[in-house]
């Protein structure tokens, strides 16, 4: 316990926490991005994938969500505390009248604000597609048509694409500096070069952004509802929907007699 406390109190310790949680989240976004690309295969494929995550993976999904949530919280808390310490290390009133960055990248200088943008995006994204709070008329099982409906709205698409730009910058600096913070990188003639991380950041951001853009520009079209979901699962979800949610919450609206049971 003492070890954990000492570790967390040191700035390197906090940076290590940020690096480890950051790399966990990098792993997550890569998996998430690849999963999303199934939207280009078929509606049934994407919906079946959603069903697989929710029902077949089941309880393990909550374990993964727990790890991700803990990672985000630790990452943000450490970032905020380190930022406060750095502000104290050169108080704003005692800063330079003239300061010229020499080699620091735009990505590194905007990593804190970009991080806050991503946090806001994550909250919006979960309310949008996971809890379906923002548009309650989305179906909990028809992932494909939710995506299509979601990205037909211009500002939603614009916000998602903007957030993916921020993600690319965040990964470009964060994924590279995480490895250095953990001391995993090998000594190099040009320590600031990062070809693999650059490719990773670009591919992840493109892989995510191509989905809203494809919907918005009509390359991905609406499909018949609820493809790829087992019939008995649809019935069960319809039962749940009518019992708990307000009327009209589901596209496969159950009969009122079912609601009575």
């Amino acid at each position: 316990m003492q070890l954990v406390r000492n570790f967390w109190q040191s700035q390197i310790g906090k940076k290590v926490v940020m690096a480890v949680t950051g790399l966990i989240l990098v792993g997550f976004v890569v998996g998430h991005m690849v999963g999303n690309l199934q939207v280009f295969q078929s509606a049934a494929k994407l919906n079946a994938y959603g069903y697989f995550l929710k029902h077949t993976v089941g309880g393990a999904l909550w374990a993964v969500r727990g790890v991700l949530l803990a990672s985000v919280i630790l990452h943000v808390v450490a970032a905020v505390q380190l930022t406060r310490q750095k502000q104290a290390a050169r108080p704003s009133g005692q800063g330079y009248q003239k300061y010229e960055p020499q080699i620091s990248t735009f990505a590194s200088r905007t990593i804190r604000w970009g991080g806050f943008l991503l946090l806001a995006f994550i909250v919006f994204h979960i309310l949008h597609f996971t809890t379906l709070t923002i548009y309650p008329d989305y179906s909990p099982t028809d992932v494909y048509n939710n995506v299509v409906k979601g990205f037909q709205i211009p500002w939603v698409t614009a916000f998602y694409v903007l957030a993916m730009g921020a993600l690319a910058l965040h990964l470009f600096h964060g994924a590279w500096s995480s490895l250095r913070t953990l001391g995993l990188s090998r000594p190099a003639a040009r320590p600031t070069a990062r070809p693999i991380v650059t490719a990773l950041a670009g591919l992840v951001a493109l892989g995510f952004a191509v989905v809203p853009l494809a919907v918005f520009f009509g390359a991905v079209q609406p499909a018949a509802p609820e493809q790829g979901i087992p019939a008995e699962a649809l019935e069960a979800s319809a039962l749940q929907q009518s019992a708990g949610a307000p009327a009209g919450a589901s596209t496969t609206a159950p009969t009122s007699t079912l609601a009575g049971h």
Partner: protein, 257 residues
């Protein structure tokens, strides 16, 4: 050459400072940057004004005294040199030059361009040494050191403790300085017995002094007059992680007499 200087003037540690503008009419391109300040100070003294206080000593890039933020870059525009090795030929006739002290809470300004860098000394005191019994000098080659290790140690040992890394860092972090000292000893056999204790105490002292954390901007490496690589920071972090995970309580031994 005609040069316009905007120099930070501050009467004392508690006084409020501001940029003062001076114009020098006859600057030779062969002058060093500090020689230009000598000329400026002669003019100020002749006019009965207070000369600009700036720290300097060897004027050949090995003592690490000359600390100036020149046009927003630590040690000015020349890569791999200290302010004393910067010559006026790096500037053009009619240039305006802004000169400020290192700025960090851990480096309080004493006067004008002079800052107190004893925070770096205290980091060294916390562990930047090896303990050895004194006695007759040992043979120079008694302890064999592989050439690559000796080279890596020497690269890190080139640190002159000028504080440019702190000055250039947007976080005012002393990571490059501390990492250079840790790498210097950590690469050598003589540094091994205290290697992991050293990294813990030096890093702790770095935090106590109120320096910021490392965001890997890379500005320190660019500003360093000795071109010390941020690879040393990775090494420091690696040693810090190992030291934290393997730390055992220090044995408390009491000796009679």
């Amino acid at each position: 050459m005609k040069i316009t200087l905007h120099v930070w003037r501050q009467a004392g540690p508690k006084a409020a400072g501001k940029l003062e503008t001076y114009t020098l009419g006859h600057v030779s391109p062969d002058m060093s940057f500090l020689e230009m300040f000598d000329v400026l100070n002669e003019e100020l003294v002749e006019a009965g004004k207070e000369p600009v206080a700036f720290s300097h000593d060897c004027r050949e890039g090995i003592c690490g005294s000359c600390a100036m933020m020149i046009n927003g870059a630590a040690h000015g525009p020349m890569k791999g040199t200290a302010t004393c090795q910067l010559h006026m030929r790096s500037f053009k006739d009619g240039d305006e030059i802004w000169v400020e002290p290192w700025r960090a809470r851990a480096f309080p300004i004493l006067k004008d361009l002079v800052v107190d860098r004893s925070a770096l000394d205290r980091i060294i005191q916390a562990g930047g040494y090896i303990s050895a019994n004194t006695g007759g000098a040992r043979d120079a080659n008694e302890i064999l050191i592989p050439k690559p290790d000796a080279d890596s140690a020497m690269d890190a040992a080139a640190c002159i403790g000028c504080g440019a890394c702190v000055a250039a860092c947007p976080n005012a972090s002393a990571s490059l300085f501390t990492a250079a000292k840790i790498s210097h000893l950590g690469h050598l056999p003589q540094g091994q017995p205290e290697r992991f204790r050293r990294v813990l105490t030096m890093v702790e002292q770095m935090d106590i002094e109120g320096f910021g954390h490392c965001t890997l901007y890379g500005e320190c490496q660019e500003a360093c007059p000795k071109l010390i690589s941020i690879d040393t920071i990775s090494r420091m972090n690696r040693d810090y992680l190992k030291a934290t995970l393997t730390k055992r309580p220090e044995p408390t031994v009491e000796y009679a007499g």
